[in-house]
Amino acid sequence: MTNRIINHPVLGELDLSNTVTFTFDGVKYTGLKNESIASALLANGIRVLRRHEESGTTRGIYCNIGHCYECRLYVNGVQGVRACLTPLKENMVIESGKPLPTTVRDWRPKND
């Protein structure tokens, strides 16, 4: 957890006592209990949260308040969970969003 702002001139010292462990794409990490999954991952240096369903390009946190839906992940097997709105719990199994196995059909006429 290297990216934490531990000392702050106004907000004081960060309480790091309540830690939990979780996995992201099979790798074990430590985070703070009940912080957002998004902040736990960023604190561990992880920016890439998913790959676009169609193009496979990378996506991460954008708005951090639940509005943009860019940070959706699999949490304990549930699809489309927003990392920025979900509190981190002990032993959570988190997986990044992946491209779909088959391409989405292009419905536009051929000569469009």
Partner: protein
């Protein structure tokens, strides 16, 4: 059945809930986030009195007061639909559906983005996202970042990031397109910055802004404006630079900057690259009003209030039966104004529930909002009063039209 449902546990929603609960109303307060407070959570600035406005602390105080008064607060509850059935509003959420005779929308504001090439790369985030990461979650958004978009919100957040020792190489403009328009023109941006100059500790900026009240002086000022910027709170304000591309393979690695003239046009051959690992996009705030639209409320676009505003009167009532609004959904202003608006909405609701016996409280709350607005330390839009007047005119027209029809 609960009498009242409030959507949004930010400063407006929390204050409304507290006021209602104090008068023995049963209130259900819903919010999508995991902590109550809304946009207030991220705020952190020093007031002229020398006291710190600490959003996390203020939010916690409001939440505790509401809890103590037995407000039913349900966090992590996303509202996805509203329905009007008979005399009730039905609110559909991921945690079930709820019903009430009165509904208060206090959904706040969201941030406008600039879609710069490369903006989907991880490491690019809204400036508010960086604020919440830094002040609420206490995680640094990165090692070295740049802010694209110079406005009241981004200037305030830049200061907060510096306070937490997050390295910001500068604040720049987005490049000029039909969409970015005013946000990409140095003259217009300088114009808007004049209204926050009192926040700048630098005498140069304070003095400079006094000299630049006139249009002609501003043009000269921009021409003379140093290409390497002027520092506010140690953050270089690069009014003569624009970001044209965000570069990276899997994540952000750098940004491409160009020098621009005073109208925002790119000067050829001035490209340079700066290494960063995060980019904050700051397009300003707009009222988050989708639920008012679903409810069927009429809207008006009012620039001074930040976007499309659901029609409402000074008592925070919409033309729809039992539907009220408060906070940034009514226009972009600070948290203190939002709290006072929550109070108006609460008294308005009480007044309607109890045959007009709270009309004096409503009037007092309206006056209190006006006072708070005039004393506001950070004013997001200088013409906020003008915007509010415009909306009142629309309201009166709407009332007249309805009378004419009936």
């Amino acid at each position: 059945m609960t009498n009242i449902i409030i959507i949004g546990a930010g400063p407006a929603g929390l204050q409304a809930a507290i006021t209602l609960a104090k008068h023995n109303e049963k209130v259900l307060l819903l919010d999508e986030y995991m902590i109550a407070g809304g946009r207030l959570l991220g705020q952190l600035y020093e007031e002229p009195t020398g006291e710190w406005w600490n959003g996390v602390e203020k939010s916690n105080q409001l939440w505790k007061r509401a809890k103590k008064l037995n407000v039913d607060i349900r966090l992590q509850t996303s509202v996805y639909d509203l329905e009007r059935k008979d005399d009730a509003w039905i609110v559909h959420t991921n945690n079930g559906s709820f019903e009430a005779s009165k509904l208060l929308l206090a959904t706040g504001a969201a941030e406008k983005p600039f879609s710069i090439p490369g903006w989907t790369l991880p490491g690019v985030m809204s400036v508010g996202a960086a604020q919440v990461m830094t002040n609420v979650h206490r995680v640094s958004p990165g090692k070295k970042g740049i802010i694209v978009g110079i406005n009241v919100l981004s200037a305030a957040i830049a200061m907060e990031l510096m306070l937490a020792e997050v390295n910001i190489v500068g604040m720049t403009l987005p490049f000029k397109t039909e969409v970015t328009n005013k946000s990409s023109s140095p003259i217009d941006v300088m114009d808007s910055l004049l209204h926050v100059s009192h926040m700048a500790p630098s005498k140069f900026i304070q003095l400079g802004s006094k000299l630049m009240k006139g249009q002609w002086m501003r043009k000269v000022g921009i021409s003379l404006y140093p290409k390497n910027g002027v520092k506010i709170w140690d953050v270089p304000i690069l009014l003569r630079k624009a970001v044209v591309e965000i570069i990276g393979d899997e994540v952000v690695k750098s940004v491409k900057l160009v020098t621009i003239d005073r109208y925002g046009n790119i000067i050829d051959g001035t490209e340079e690259t700066i290494d960063v690992d995060f980019v904050c996009i700051a397009g300003g705030l707009y009222p988050l009003a989708e639920l008012a639209a679903i409810a069927g409320c009429p809207f008006y676009h009012i620039d001074e209030l930040g976007g499309h505003i659901p029609l409402h009167n000074e008592q925070m009532k919409t033309p729809l039966d039992g539907l009220y609004v408060a906070g940034n959904i009514t226009g972009i202003e600070g948290a203190k104004v939002a709290m006072k608006q929550g109070e108006i909405a609460a008294f308005s609701l009480l007044n309607d529930l109890h045959d007009g016996s709270f009309s004096e409280n409503v009037e007092q709350a309206i006056e209190s909002v006006k006072r708070t607005r005039n004393e506001a330390y950070i004013q997001f839009h200088p013409q906020i009063d003008e915007g509010r007047r415009k909306l009142q005119k629309y309201w009166l027209n709407n009332q007249e039209d309805n009378e004419f029809i009936s």
